[in-house]
């Protein structure tokens, strides 16, 4: 576990044999492809984990496991999960009525609007504190399609259009949490979605900044006894997307989308989402430009 400041510690009991069954081993294309630290594995097996699971379960059953110990561990895990879930909900309530809109409020208003549909969260690249993964019930494989895989910036918009194209033929409702910085990389994909009638609800996580590097800039400024914010924007130099504020709803409209915004009042978000859902169900992509908290 890396604390973010260079230390490492293990959570694995000493002398435990660690076996890995994963197709990640097959991703490596070059000796420079893998990054960061490696997990020390005793027996690495390159293979499909999902396909392996039934055989693994049978092998565990035949080994005659200690059922009461397993049940006790299960009970402890369920209790820990329930307690953690309560803490997460309490954390989501913080800043609930704030403006700009909290990421928790945005994500839960969104879920409220789509929960009765066969929904698929096709992209969420901007770090909304993982609220969908923490609070939405991710019970089907297409509920969450994952991230870029390499912290790719600009992945979200084109990936969501591609996934929405696939979902269209399967009758699924595609929704993306679209970051403003991400959309600045390839905004032309909005036209592609409208041209090919790809229904997609893009709810913007518009924190008016690329934002990811702000703490690095702040840290270096502090170390060098320099002020990070020169006063023009709310963030450190070169990290904000404001002054002028980009009107993404107008950008989307110009490319054939239905769009609304900027939405800064959380009370307006629910009605706007319900309206947008109806538009997408009619076959047109829709974008809501929502002003949010940074993370």
């Amino acid at each position: 576990m890396n604390e973010g400041i260079g230390s490492n510690s293990t959570r694995i009991k000493r002398d435990t044999k660690l076996i890995s069954i994963s197709s990640v081993d097959l991703n490596t294309k070059a000796n420079y492809q893998d990054f960061q630290r490696f997990q020390v594995i005793d027996v690495p097996m390159a293979g499909d984990a999902e396909a392996t699971l039934p055989a693994l379960i049978e092998a565990v059953k035949q080994a005659g496991p200690n059922k009461s110990a397993i049940e006790k561990r299960g009970e402890t895990a369920r209790k820990a999960y329930a307690e953690g879930n309560e803490r997460t909900r309490a954390a989501a309530a913080l800043g609930w009525d704030a403006s700009p809109i909290s990421t928790a409020r945005m994500c839960m208003e969104l879920y409220g609007a789509i929960k009765d549909l066969d929904w698929s969260l096709v992209a969420s690249e901007g770090n909304v504190s993982n609220w969908p993964n923490r609070l939405w019930p991710m019970e089907k494989h297409y509920h969450w399609l994952g991230a870029s895989g390499g912290y790719g910036v600009g992945y979200g918009a084109p990936a969501s259009v591609g996934a929405a194209l696939a979902n269209r033929d399967l009758g699924r409702f595609s929704v993306s949490i679209q970051s403003d910085g991400d959309l600045m990389y390839a905004p032309g994909v909005l036209w592609t979605a409208a041209k090919h009638k790809i229904p997609l609800l893009a709810v913007m996580h518009n924190n008016r900044g690329y934002h990811q590097e702000v703490m690095h800039v702040q840290r270096l400024s502090n170390f060098r006894n320099r002020v990070a914010n020169l006063g023009g924007d709310m963030g450190p130099v070169g990290t904000s997307i404001q002054n002028p504020d980009v009107e993404y709803h107008k950008l989307a409209e110009s490319m054939g989308w239905w769009a609304k915004g900027p939405i800064k009042d959380p009370a307006q978000l629910g009605p706007a989402l319900r309206e947008a859902v109806k538009v997408v169900q009619g076959g047109q992509p829709a974008l809501l430009n929502v002003w949010t908290q940074p993370r």
Partner: protein, 116 residues
């Protein structure tokens, strides 16, 4: 007796010196809201101190001003320390006052969207 009293006075003085740099005068919540944005606290902790994956919650009920000051000045973790030349004691006190002024969050059990 005089020796004991003298020692007690010296101890109190030394303790005062030890904590003096960390004691913040009462600040202004209104100025603190401006300073909170200007000094970048919102970037990780959110505009109302609600916290996020990048920084813990600061409000409501922020830690006491002395602990707050000590942490901001001397932290050596993921958050960078802010020296007085960057963030004055006055601004720090104002920021603390702003955090103290923030209202309590609603009980999540009262929010239908958080209890599907």
């Amino acid at each position: 007796m005089n020796v004991i009293l003298s020692a007690a006075k010296n101890l109190l003085f030394a303790t005062g010196l030890l904590f003096a740099p960390l004691v913040l005068a009462a600040g202004s919540a209104e100025k603190g809201k401006v300073a909170y944005v200007q000094h970048g606290c919102w970037q990780c902790h959110g505009f109302v101190g609600q916290g996020s994956v990048t920084g813990p919650k600061l409000a409501p009920n922020p830690i006491p001003p002395e602990a707050f000051s000590a942490f901001v000045r001397f932290t050596n973790g993921a958050m960078p320390p802010y020296q007085k030349s960057i963030l004055s004691d006055g601004d720090l006190a104002d920021i603390h006052a702003y955090l103290q002024s923030l209202p309590k969050a609603p009980d999540y059990k009262s929010i239908p969207l958080l209890n599907p």
